[in-house]
Symmetry: C2
Subunit: 218 residues, 2 copies
DNA sequence: ATTATTTTTTAGATTAACCTAAAATTTTTA
DNA sequence: TAAAAATTTTAGGTTAATCTAAAAAATAAT
């Protein structure tokens, strides 16, 4: 069995290799887990020893099949717990990340399968992220960043790529919630900010960062 | 905040002081947490330093008000999670102890209050143990050991004092489940074993140990 | 293509929680 | 009540996960 800490490293490496595709650097991991690079090096040796990552000194790391499966399993748990917290206990989508961060390390396959069933086998978590199946498969999701829409084009808000509560509370205040249809009216080429229109005709101003963290479909 | 390990020591001390009322010995704790006495001494110093226990060298320990409150809070979490596992996820009463042992350390007051509400503010866990209120109060329970019934007296099975799955699975096989009414037919004075009769007229033989771990009301 | 900078690793320490072996204290027993 | 036995504590070590400071390697810049 892997420790709590080992699991967090695997999750971090998985997350980083999604975005960058290829080798993940020690410094990037260090940043992600908020731990000094020297400590990361120690842990990388240990994870390599256990066969969970491919590690080449000074070159970076990638997950082995086993490491990847482990990481995906943790993500599955995290997202199922988030669904539980929001759908069953009435938490807001901005409140659940930290609690799920603890719950994801609870160690019982049976528990997670029962929870999955109890929740009705949800496909997406409260932030629109796909929940992997028990065998570690992700269903395809065709989300694009809101910031990539053309002027005049519309889309339905289906996900976010920042799960921090500050960001989610801000979206909430703008009533930019999952399921809402918006049309991109204009893009300011100078700073990348955009103006979108909701179905009620209301106009919403979004900075480049914000629109880049909102995912839409259609 | 207290560590996972510190919480387990507090829980152990609480449990032991329930049974013995008074000072708890190092060896008893050592046994309860499956750790050497020397290590227990280290931890006792630390817990005393934090104001959670009263510790007098060579004399034993007792919980302070704060330590007691902390222990009761953990017990509350443990029992609420057990109710969740049994009532919502369909686990058997013999399967939930170990999982709840992990879940009880999840750190969020809001989570546990929401869970309590979601479960309908249960008063007892699946083993018949009372669930303390948010303010740490136990409702009175008037359980007596099945082994203390007089011949001819009857009672309703309402709790157990051993939560191990071996014991619970054994009870299950005898269909000695919560809510069942039984009448004590006879007690063998030689080994303390008893014979009870169920409402269907079936006779069940129970050793002294088993009948001592079954709690009845009425 | 050397030097300068950044990144990564090694070396040596620290803290929490554990251990064994030995010493100190308390309890039991003769 | 003094010796024997049991309990508890101290002393000194280990492991996992972290740290800082310094060395080594890779990358970038002149």
């Amino acid at each position: 069995m892997n420790s709590f800490t080992e699991e967090n490293y695997l999750k971090a490496i998985y997350k980083l290799s999604e975005r960058t595709a290829g080798m993940v650097s020690t410094n990037a991991i260090s940043e992600e887990v908020s731990t000094r690079a020297a400590s990361v090096t120690d842990m990388l040796k240990k994870l390599a020893e256990k066969g969970l990552i491919n590690y080449v000194k000074y070159q970076g790391v990638s997950l082995t099949a086993e490491g990847r499966a482990t990481a995906i399993d943790i993500i599955r748990k995290h997202r199922l717990w988030e669904v539980f917290l929001v759908n069953k206990l009435g938490f807001g989508w901005d409140e659940v990340h930290d609690i799920a961060e603890e719950l994801e390390h609870i160690n019982s396959g049976k528990l997670i399968d029962r929870l999955d069933e109890f929740l009705g086998f949800p496909q997406l978590d409260p932030h629109g992220d796909p929940i992997p199946t028990r065998s570690g498969k992700f269903r395809q999701h065709d989300f694009i960043k809101l910031s990539k829409l053309e002027a005049g084009e519309s889309g339905v808000i289906s996900g976010v790529s920042d799960h921090s509560s500050t960001f989610l509370i801000y979206l909430e205040r703008l009533s930019m919630v999952l399921g809402k249809r918006v049309t991109l009216l204009e893009r300011n080429e100078y700073d990348g900010s955009v103006v979108v229109e909701g179905s009620g005709g209301e106009k919403i101003y979004l900075s480049k960062e914000v629109s880049g963290n909102i995912l839409v479909t259609n």
